[in-house]
C-alpha cells in the first residue's frame, strides 16, 4: 500500500509539471497584464518598458517559467534599465513555496488565493453535502420504486435543473426570491455577498446568504448524482447476492441499506473523490452572480487581467489536489472494497 502511494505520488509529480508548463506558456500568450495597468488610460510607453523589465516579463517564456518554478534569487537582474544586471532577484519559486506576486493585487499570489479559499470551501462543501445526501435519499428511493410517480417527477425535475444554464437559474432565483419577494412584502433572501456587512460574518448571516448559491449549485448538479446513485443502486439490487440475501429471509431494510447500498456506494466514493478537488475552483458562474468572494471569481477577475501568478497558483493548487484526492480516493476505495489490494 505504501509503495503504491509512493508510486502514485511519483507519477503525479511530472503530471503537475507538464500541466503547469503548458498552462504557463498559454498564460504568457493571452494578453498583456501591463495593458490594463494604466487603469482607464492606456499605459505609457516608458512605464510599460520599465514594468516589464522589473517584473521580468521581458524574459523568454521558458526563462520566466524557470524563474516561476525555482526562483531567480541566484541570478542578477537589471531593474533600473541601464543594461547591466546588478541586483539578485527576489523570487523563490514555486518549489520553495513562492507563487510569485500578483500583478494586480501586488501581494503574494498565495496570500490572494488563500484569502478566498475558505469562502469557496464553505460554499462548495455545503453544496456538495446537500447534493450528495439529497441525491442519496432520492437515488435510493428511485431505485427501490423504479418508475413510480415520485421517481418520474424527481427524474424530470432533475433533468430540467441539469439542463438549465446555471446563470439563467441563478438570476431567476435571485429575482424571484430576493428582488420580487421583497417587493411583494414576502420573506426574502439577500441578493449578493457572503453576509450583510452591517451585521458581520455571523454563522446565521453566512447561512442565509448561502441559500441561493447553494440551491443553484445543488439544482444543477443534483441530477447527475441522483441518477448515478439510482443506477448503481439498481445494478446492486439486480445482483445475485441480493437474491441470496432475500433467500436468507433478511428484512428489506437490511438488504437495501447493508447489502445493496454498501456495494453501490463504492462507485459513488470514486465520483465524489474525483469531484471534491474541483470544488476548490468554486463555481465560476455562481460565485460571479452572487458576488461570493471565492476562488472562481478570483480566477475570472485575474484571468481577464493576465495575472499569471494568481491564475497559475489557482490551477496548480487544483492540479495538486486532484492528484492528492485521486490517491486518497484509491485508499478509501481499497478500504471499502476488500477485493482491491494495491500491493
Amino acid at each position: 500500500m505504501t509503495r503504491y502511494i509512493i508510486r502514485r505520488i511519483l507519477q503525479g509529480i511530472p503530471l503537475v509539471f507538464l500541466v503547469s508548463l503548458v498552462l504557463f506558456i498559454m498564460m504568457q500568450n493571452m494578453g498583456d497584464p501591463l495593458a490594463t495597468m494604466g487603469g482607464r488610460s492606456v499605459t505609457r510607453k516608458e512605464d510599460r518598458a520599465r514594468l516589464s523589465r522589473q517584473l521580468g516579463l521581458d524574459q523568454p517564456v521558458l526563462v520566466q517559467y524557470f524563474y516561476w518554478l525555482v526562483g531567480n534569487d541566484f541570478v542578477k537582474i537589471d531593474i533600473d534599465g541601464d543594461g547591466t544586471p546588478e541586483t539578485y532577484g527576489t523570487r523563490k519559486g514555486v518549489l520553495r513555496g513562492d507563487f510569485g506576486t500578483s500583478l494586480v493585487a501586488r501581494e503574494p499570489a498565495m496570500e490572494v488565493i488563500l484569502s478566498r479559499l475558505p469562502n469557496t470551501l464553505i460554499l462548495m462543501l455545503t453544496s456538495e453535502f446537500v447534493v450528495i445526501f439529497g441525491a442519496l435519499l432520492i437515488g435510493v428511493y428511485s431505485a427501490l420504486k423504479q418508475y413510480s410517480l415520485l421517481d418520474n417527477i424527481v427524474t424530470t425535475f432533475s433533468f430540467v435543473g441539469y439542463s438549465m444554464p446555471i446563470f439563467f437559474l441563478a438570476l431567476s432565483l435571485m429575482y424571484i426570491f430576493a428582488v420580487n419577494f421583497k417587493r411583494w412584502g414576502l420573506p426574502y433572501l439577500p441578493t449578493v455577498g457572503m453576509y450583510d456587512p452591517q451585521v458581520g460574518d455571523t454563522p446565521a448571516q453566512v447561512l442565509i446568504h448561502m441559500v441561493l448559491p447553494v440551491v443553484t449549485i445543488a439544482v444543477n448538479s443534483f441530477s447527475a448524482y441522483s441518477r448515478y446513485i439510482r443506477s448503481t443502486m439498481l445494478e446492486a439490487l439486480g445482483q445475485d447476492y441480493i437474491r441470496t440475501a432475500r433467500a436468507k429471509g433478511l428484512p428489506k431494510r437490511e438488504i437495501v441499506f447493508i447489502h445493496a447500498l454498501k456495494n453501490a456506494s463504492l462507485p459513488i466514493v470514486t465520483i465524489v473523490g474525483l469531484d471534491l478537488p474541483f470544488l476548490l475552483g468554486g463555481a465560476l458562474v455562481t460565485e460571479r452572480i452572487f458576488a461570493w468572494p471565492g476562488m472562481g471569481r478570483l480566477f475570472i477577475d485575474h484571468v481577464s487581467r493576465g495575472d499569471t501568478p494568481v491564475v497559475m497558483g489557482i490551477m496548480v493548487l487544483i492540479a495538486i489536489s486532484v492528484v492528492v484526492f485521486q490517491i486518497l480516493t484509491d485508499i478509501v476505495y481499497a478500504w471499502l472494497d476488500p477485493r482491491i489490494r494495491y500491493s
Binding site: 494604466g38 492606456v42 510607453k45 522589473q54 494586480v104 429575482y175 420573506p187 456587512p197 458576488a291
Partner: protein
C-alpha cells in the same frame, strides 16, 4: 466500515442540516438596527491595492478621496481647489517661477495623518523618491520622471524643479505616502512592493480612515477624527464588491446599495423607476474611433475624404439617443467639456449623401456591384475592432449597417481589453496596426490635456515595441504643437495651442467622436448631499449623509 448505526447517524445529521438550511431559507433577512450611519457603495470591480504608487485603477483611485486625499482636488465642475496646500501655486502668487521650471508648494500646517503624526514636506520627498526608485515596480512614474530635483527647505515647503517647463504639473502628488510608516519598511524589505500598508493602510489623510478589507467581499472606512476639515457625517463608508452588472442593479434597487457606478444605459429606466437617481458626470472621456493610417491599414484611410465620409455616414445623434438613452451626445474632440477645445468646432452632421460623394470623389466606387466600393481592385472593407463591452458591440453592429449603406463593408472583431491593448511586442491587435478602425474611450491625465499617443515617436516598431501610437499617425505639425503645449506653463497660451491641435485633429479626422462618455452614477434614495466630480468623484465625502 459502514454499518447500520453509522448510516443512521449520518442520515440524522443530514436531516438536521437540511432542516436548518431550509429554516433559514424561509425566514426573512434580519435587518440590522441602524445603530450607525453607514453608506454602502457598490463596486463592480475590486480595487487592486490602496497604495497610490501601485495603482492606476479607477476603483482604487476614486477611494483616495475618502482616506488619503490628493494635494489638490476637483469639484463637481472639475475645477481644481487646494487641499493639502495653502493655495494653488500660480505665476501670480509666485508658486510658479517665471521660467515655468520651478513650482513651490506651501503645505498646510494643521494636517495630521490618521495615526496622529504630522504631515510634512518629508512625506512629499519620500513619495517622490519612492516613485522614482527602481526597486519599486510602481504602475507609472509619470509625471515624477519629469522632475529634475525636489527640495524641502523647511517642514512645510516643497520646491519642485523641472528641467523644462512642465505644464501638466497638476497631475503630481495624487496621494502622499506616510514616510514615518513606510521608510522603515523600505529599509527592511528593499522595496515597498510587499508593504502591508498597500493592503491595509494604517495611516492616511482623509475624512475617513481605512478600517478593513475583506478580499472579494468588501472594504470598510470609518470616520477619521483626526481629519483637519469638517468632520464626516457618516460613521462608515462601506464598499461592497459586486462583480456582476445585473447583481449591482439588483442590489441598488433592493436598497442593499446606496451608490453605484458605471451603470449601463439600458439599466437606467429600471433604476429610476425604483427611485434611484442617476447622475451623469463629465470626466473628459470620449468614445471614439482611432482611425489607423499605418502600413498595414487599409490604403483608403490615407485619404482624408474617406475618413470624413466614415463620419458623415454615421448617425451618431441617433446612436446617442437610442443606445445611450439620450444621456449623452456626440462630441467634436477628445477634450470636450474643457476649455482646450476650439469653440468653433461642431460635430460633423449625419449626411450620407455627402459621404457618398466624398467617397466617389476619392475614387472609391462600386465597380463590380458586390455592394462594397473598390478602387484599383481593392475592395473597401475595413476591420473594425474594439473591446468586448456590450455597448461597443452594439455600436459596431449599428455602424456596420450604416457604413454598408454607403458602400463600406466591415469585418467586426472584439477582444478582451488586456488582449486588445496588449503592446506591439505582445502582438496586441491594436498596436500591431492590424485594425483599420479602433474604438475605445479614454483621456490621458484628465483634466490635463497632455497627450502622447498622437506623437510620431510613439509609433510601435520592433525597436520600440511599447509604443502607444496605435494609429501609426505622424503629423509633423501636430507633433510640434504637442511638444509646445507641454512646456507652456501659461494657461492661456497653452489653451491657444490646444485649439490648434483640436482643429487639426477635427479637420483631418484623425480621431472621431462617437459620443461623450460620462461616468454614470446611481445614487440611492437614502443617500443625501452627494456631489460627484469627474476627476475626484468623492471629493465631498465628508458631507455625505443619510436621510
Amino acid at each position: 466500515m459502514l454499518n447500520k448505526s453509522f448510516i443512521l447517524k449520518v442520515l440524522v445529521l443530514v436531516m438536521i442540516a437540511s432542516l436548518g438550511l431550509s429554516a433559514c431559507g424561509g425566514s426573512p433577512a434580519a435587518t440590522a438596527p441602524a445603530a450607525s450611519k453607514v453608506a454602502t457603495l457598490i463596486f463592480t470591480q475590486e480595487p487592486d491595492t490602496m497604495s497610490p504608487l501601485y495603482t492606476n485603477m479607477y476603483f482604487s483611485q476614486i477611494l483616495h478621496q475618502t482616506w488619503n486625499v490628493w494635494t489638490w482636488q476637483y469639484d463637481e465642475k472639475n475645477q481644481v481647489y487646494p487641499v493639502l496646500v495653502k493655495e494653488m501655486p500660480s505665476m501670480e502668487n509666485g508658486g510658479i517661477s517665471a521660467d515655468g521650471k520651478t513650482i513651490t508648494l506651501h503645505l498646510r500646517e494643521d494636517v495630521l495623518w490618521s495615526d496622529g503624526e504630522k504631515l510634512t514636506s518629508a512625506d512629499y520627498k519620500f513619495t517622490y523618491d519612492m516613485y522614482m526608485n527602481p526597486k519599486n515596480t510602481v504602475s507609472t512614474t509619470y509625471p515624477y520622471d519629469q522632475i529634475a530635483s525636489l527640495e524641502t527647505p523647511d517642514d512645510f515647503t516643497v520646491v519642485i524643479n523641472f528641467a523644462e517647463p512642465f505644464a501638466p504639473w497638476l497631475s503630481l502628488f495624487h496621494g502622499i505616502l506616510p514616510e514615518h510608516v513606510l521608510q522603515p519598511v523600505f529599509e527592511k524589505d528593499g522595496t515597498l512592493d510587499t508593504a502591508a500598508w498597500n493592503k491595509a493602510p494604517s495611516a492616511g489623510i482623509g475624512p475617513f480612515k481605512f478600517d478593513k478589507w475583506e478580499s472579494g467581499s468588501y472594504l470598510r472606512f470609518v470616520r477619521n477624527d483626526k481629519w483637519f476639515g469638517e468632520k464626516a457625517k457618516l460613521d462608515q463608508i462601506f464598499v461592497r464588491i459586486v462583480p456582476d452588472d445585473a447583481s449591482q442593479v439588483a442590489a441598488l434597487k433592493a436598497g442593499d446599495g446606496d451608490l453605484g457606478i458605471f451603470i449601463s444605459y439600458p439599466d437606467i429606466p429600471a433604476l429610476e423607476e425604483a427611485g434611484v437617481s442617476v447622475v451623469t458626470v463629465q470626466s473628459g472621456y470620449s468614445e471614439g474611433w482611432f482611425i489607423s493610417m499605418g502600413p498595414k491599414a487599409h490604403p483608403a484611410l490615407q485619404d482624408v475624404r474617406v475618413r470624413q465620409a466614415l463620419v458623415y455616414s454615421v448617425d451618431r445623434e441617433k446612436i446617442a439617443k437610442d443606445l445611450l438613452l439620450g444621456k449623452t451626445k456626440p462630441g467634436a474632440s477628445l477634450w470636450d467639456n474643457s476649455p482646450y477645445v476650439d469653440p468653433s468646432l461642431q460635430p460633423y452632421p449625419y449626411d450620407p449623401e455627402k459621404a457618398k460623394s466624398l467617397l466617389d470623389e476619392a475614387g472609391w466606387k462600386d465597380t463590380n456591384g458586390d455592394g462594397s466600393r473598390d478602387k484599383d481592385g481593392v475592395e473597401l472593407v475595413l476591420r473594425y475592432g474594439t473591446t468586448t463591452k456590450e455597448v461597443r458591440q452594439s455600436t459596431q453592429a449599428v455602424v456596420q449597417q450604416m457604413w454598408a449603406s454607403v458602400g463600406v463593408k466591415t469585418d467586426l472583431t472584439n477582444y478582451d481589453s488586456d488582449i486588445f491593448f496588449a503592446s506591439y511586442g505582445d502582438k496586441g491587435p491594436a498596436y500591431t496596426g492590424e485594425l483599420d478602425v479602433m474604438e475605445w474611450s479614454d483621456v490621458y491625465q484628465f483634466p490635463d490635456p497632455n497627450f502622447t499617443y498622437f506623437l510620431c515617436s510613439e509609433i510601435p516598431s520592433d525597436e520600440s515595441p511599447q509604443g502607444v501610437n496605435a494609429q501609426y499617425l505622424c503629423d509633423e505639425e501636430l507633433d510640434g504643437l504637442f511638444q509646445q503645449q507641454a512646456t507652456q506653463v501659461d494657461t492661456n497660451a497653452r489653451i491657444e495651442t490646444f485649439h490648434k491641435i483640436t482643429k487639426i485633429v477635427f479637420d483631418q479626422v484623425y480621431w472621431a467622436s462617437l459620443w461623450q462618455d460620462p461616468d454614470i452614477w446611481a445614487v440611492g434614495k437614502r443617500l443625501a448631499d452627494v456631489k460627484l466630480s469627474g476627476v475626484t468623484p468623492f471629493y465631498n465625502a465628508e458631507a455625505w449623509d443619510l436621510k
